[in-house]
């Protein structure tokens, strides 16, 4: 992978919590404007990788370059607006759909216009009529779509999506899959997506990273999942039922 168009480059990145190694010597690249899927068993360190990328945690050693610059050279707020992060359980704060959607701008003391809000809701396939509804009344799929829309308010150049389809039914999953492709094509956003569904990785992802036990064991174009070189990856792929 060429480093000239690396959205995020990882050089020997290691991370541990209370002496327990979570990420070990991660080396690789998320290519700009591409969709990369992260797959691997639970506890492989995939979500932690996202936290490092969004600046919610810092690596113990190694370098992370975001858009060619050392991650720590960005102010935390600037980095987090540039690298959007939709969390696994689509956490919402108490309030309406609009209040949650507008949050990234409210935090900056700005206002999200009604037109812009409706445009974003439409983009993610939610009706504008739910704007005044409490987020408590939303279905799992609607929450995930709202979570993605909220992350887009900051117009991030990199979008991290953490298992956003895992709790959805097949129809909602397909909606979100189409949405990811649409965001990637429409805005040229670099997308990194953690999924447990290897079929999604094959069909949606341009590239795939396979992580096992805190290590990046194989990375390449998504068809690698059909012919893995690594024994651990082969076992992992074989054990997947999707």
């Amino acid at each position: 992978m060429a480093s000239v168009n690396a959205a995020v480059q990882w050089n020997h990145v290691t991370f541990s919590v209370n002496g327990k190694t979570i990420l070990q010597d991660i080396n690789g690249t998320f290519l700009e404007g591409k969709i990369t899927t992260l797959v691997g068993p639970s506890g492989a360190g995939k979500s932690t990788l996202f936290k490092l990328c969004n600046g919610l945690a810092s690596a113990d050693s190694g370098d992370i370059l975001v858009a060619g610059k050392e991650i720590d050279s960005y102010a935390p707020v600037e980095l987090r607006r540039m690298v959007g992060f939709a969390m696994q359980d689509a956490t919402m704060v108490d309030g309406t759909v609009y209040e949650n959607l507008a949050m990234p701008l409210t935090l900056q003391g700005k206002e999200l216009t009604e037109d812009k809000a409706n445009e974003l809701l439409k983009l993610v396939g939610l009706p504008a009529t739910i704007s005044d509804q409490s987020t408590k009344d939303l279905s799992g799929g609607q929450r995930q779509k709202l979570s993605i829309a909220r992350t887009l308010v900051n117009r991030p150049s990199i979008l991290l999506l953490d298992e956003i389809t895992s709790s959805l039914d097949r129809v909602s999953q397909q909606d979100v899959e189409a949405l990811i492709v649409r965001i990637n094509k429409q805005y040229g956003t670099t997308i990194v997506w953690i999924t447990h569904n290897l079929q999604q990785a094959r069909t949606i992802g341009d590239y795939t990273w396979v992580m096992i036990n805190g290590q990046l064991v194989e990375a390449g174009e998504s068809f690698l999942l059909d012919q893995p070189e690594n024994d651990e990856v082969r076992l992992f792929v074989k054990g997947d039922n999707s």
């Binding site: 969004n54 935390p76 707020v77 987090r80 969390m87 704060v93 949050m103 900051n154």
Partner: protein
């Protein structure tokens, strides 16, 4: 009241002891400890106060206040050990409410500059501030723990640490100060405040006792609000590092 009369009032300690033993409530040991401690502590304070009042020396007054702050800090810090530097944060809070309240009372000549006024009022202010600190810390730690996902969400969207815990901070300030405000709404209707009752029993004019009690109530309102706000704003930054990352609270060692 003579020591003999006080000895007779021990009946009021024997009643719960007998009830506890009869009904197997297991309260005997704590009741006895509480009784012995209260006798020793209050008698000691009584003798110390006698000494301080007689000498009227500023040094003794200051020493008493320092002891009060030290005891209040020691007691309240147990509830906030998960927050870094909680000891000095509490000390700073207690000093601030003490200086603020005594500054206004003495500065505007509302109360005389004598140990007889300064020490009991300081005791009420610091004691109240201690209870408020405990209420605040209990609630704040629980809010921070239960809303950690919301905190990380706000940070991840580009919010500052203050924005990330703002709701938890406000909820905790409200929860800790509401009891003080609510109790003032029914004061005099349900029970007479202890200090006012004490003054009336000691033979003071009831109206004078009421006026003084009102002064104390107003004082405690300021103490409550200032304590919670100050402790909150001193505490929340320690939940984050310089990269605006949320540091999970350590599990309390109970």
């Amino acid at each position: 009241m003579s020591y003999l009369s006080l000895a007779i009032t021990l009946i009021f300690v024997i009643i719960p002891l007998v009830l506890s033993r009869t009904l197997n409530l297991g309260l005997e040991k704590d009741t006895l400890i509480a009784t012995v401690r209260s006798i020793i502590q209050l008698l000691a304070v009584g003798y110390v106060l006698q000494l301080v009042f007689e000498s009227e020396h500023l040094f003794y007054i200051l020493l008493m206040i320092i002891l009060m702050i030290a005891a209040a800090t020691q007691n309240a810090r147990k509830k906030g050990v998960q927050i870094k530097g909680i000891t000095w944060k509490l000390v700073l809070t207690f000093i601030t409410v003490e200086v603020l309240t005594q500054g206004i009372l003495l500065g505007l000549s509302i109360t005389p500059t004598t140990a007889q006024y300064i020490i009991p009022i300081s005791g009420m202010v610091i004691g109240n501030s201690m209870v408020l600190s405990i209420l605040f810390l209990n609630r704040f730690i629980s809010e921070v723990e239960t809303k950690s996902k919301e905190t990380e969400l706000i940070l991840s969207l580009g919010g500052t640490p203050k924005q990330a815990v703002h709701k938890q901070l406000i909820t905790s300030i409200q929860a800790s100060t509401i009891p003080t405000i609510e109790s003032q709404k029914t004061i005099g209707l349900v029970q007479l405040p202890g200090m006012m009752s004490g003054q009336i029993i000691a033979g003071a004019d009831p109206l004078q006792a009421v006026l003084f009690q009102l002064l104390i109530l107003f004082l405690l309102l300021t103490t409550a609000v200032v304590t919670s706000i100050m402790l909150g704003y001193l505490s929340y930054p320690t939940l984050f590092n310089e990269r605006m990352q949320f540091l999970k609270l350590e599990k309390s060692k109970k």
